[in-house]
């Protein structure tokens, strides 16, 4: 800036990084891309934004997300450090899978997908306990080779994680958060799939009867309101913090085995019976927090 600061400069004279930052603050990638027609200066500046945000209004068609990702990649100026997609209404599995496939190789940071984002949380919580479920179909999560965080809030869209071997590893993944997901019976998360996962949150999910977790790098695990859980087998040798809430119900006779010898903190706010819930030795455990009314055993 060679002027006096308070002169008659215009916004376009600012350094590109600042203009890009302004576009970033719009938190709306389409609106940012529309600035391409403002003037030559603004042409394709949007493609330098590292964080992309989309709102999708159409359940069956997510092509604008795929097209935007392709256009962003074509300019190849910056990697995507964050991709947030909100589907306002119930996205179909095909529409979801199609943009996820395009996004998978491009994201080097965080993926956040929220389905049925206009539905209030209290409605989703009601649906958690409803007997009859609307079948929304299932999509398969592709491999995100560079993503470090994946957060999925699916409004009870079905998710399938192909088993280890079929599923290529997610080597960069450190955090996985799954909520309002419809499962279909089983789910296994193991080192073959996500060898360096540090934090796992599974919260308010339906249809997950049999959960197997074998993750050696896992440090924090939060399992909350997995309402249909019958079997939990967790071998998590590096785990420090375990939080379990409202997952186990006596009338289901659930069977639980948790091998986690490094655990320091446990919050166990669900049914407990030493005949059904087996823990490994936990020599480093500090005083457990048990809000559990059926807590009968010793640690």
């Amino acid at each position: 800036m060679d002027c006096d600061g308070d002169g008659d400069l215009e916004l376009s004279d600012l350094p590109s990084e600042i203009l890009v930052y302004i576009l970033d603050q719009l938190k709306d990638t389409r609106a940012a891309a529309r600035t391409s027609v403002l003037s030559r200066r603004w042409r394709n500046l949007w493609a330098r934004i590292p964080r992309l945000f989309f709102r999708n209004h159409q359940p069956h068609d997510s092509s604008h997300v795929s097209d935007a990702l392709a256009a962003h990649a074509a300019h190849a100026v910056s990697a995507i450090t964050q991709l947030t997609v909100m589907s306002l209404y119930s996205a179909t599995p095909d529409a979801t899978a199609s943009w996820l496939c395009v996004a998978a190789p491009l994201i080097s940071g965080e993926l956040c997908f929220r389905n049925r984002s206009v539905v209030p949380m209290r409605t989703l919580i009601q649906e958690l306990d409803e007997e009859v479920v609307e079948e929304r179909g299932v999509f398969e999560l592709p491999c995100f080779p560079k993503a470090t965080v994946i957060r999925l809030s699916l409004g009870f869209l079905g998710l399938s994680l192909p088993p280890s071997g079929v599923f290529s590893a997610q080597p960069a993944l450190r955090k996985l958060h799954l909520e309002y997901v419809q499962f279909h019976g089983e789910c296994t998360l193991d080192d073959g799939m996500m060898p360096f996962l540090k934090e796992l949150v599974i919260c308010r999910v339906r249809g997950l009867a049999n959960l197997t977790i074998k993750l050696k790098s896992l440090i924090r695990m939060n399992l909350s309101e997995i309402v249909d859980l019958l079997r939990l087998n967790a071998v998590v040798p590096g785990l420090k913090n375990l939080y379990v809430r409202s997952c186990l119900y006596r009338w289901n006779l659930p069977l639980v085995r948790i091998v986690a010898e490094e655990v320091e903190d446990i919050s166990w706010a669900t049914w407990y019976d030493p005949g059904f819930v087996k823990f490994s030795e936990m020599p480093y455990l500090k005083m457990p927090h048990t809000d559990c009314c059926h807590y009968t055993g010793t640690w």
Binding site: M1, C3, D4, G5, D6, L9, E10, L11, S12, L14, P15, I18, Y21, I22, L23, D24, Q25, L26, K27, D28, R30, A31, A33, R34, T35, S36, V37, L38, S39, R40, R41, W42, R43, N56, H57, Q58, D61, S63, H64, D67, A68, A71
Partner: protein, 173 residues
Amino acid sequence: MAAGKPVVMVTLVSSDGQSFQLLEEAALLSAMVRDTIQIGQGRGPAGIPIRNITGQTLSMVVVYCNKHYTAAAAADGDDAADEEKKVANKKQLREWDEQFINLEQDKLYDILVAANNLGIDGLVDLCCWRFADMMKGKSASEIRVKLGIRDDFTSEQRAQIEKDSPWVWSRTT
């Protein structure tokens, strides 16, 4: 501020010769001031000359630095475990920020340039947020008018850009 800590003031001098005295710790929000003091300059009575920034703009920047320094110092003294209070204080500061930056584009522009030159990240963020807020929900021509951007495209060129990226312009609702 901790008791017994010496009070160190610095003086910032604007391009039009106005002096502003503030606590050194508040001024250290600026990377440029940090660098200057680190190399052992700026503590003298002559102060730190701030080139390209007029007194009118610098006075606003000083208000921002004082507010954020005071808020950070108060937060340091608080009970670290009181999450609720922390969230409330943060919200309060954000409200102050938004009020503070509720300026028309000329002043906002000057403050953004100043914050960028002085290396005050929080203030750069805030100005960019405000500019983005001004652009929200507006058409290209409305943004040009609002922010004084000269259109140097021909209508054919504009049409071509729109044609090249239909995903930007198609309606999705």
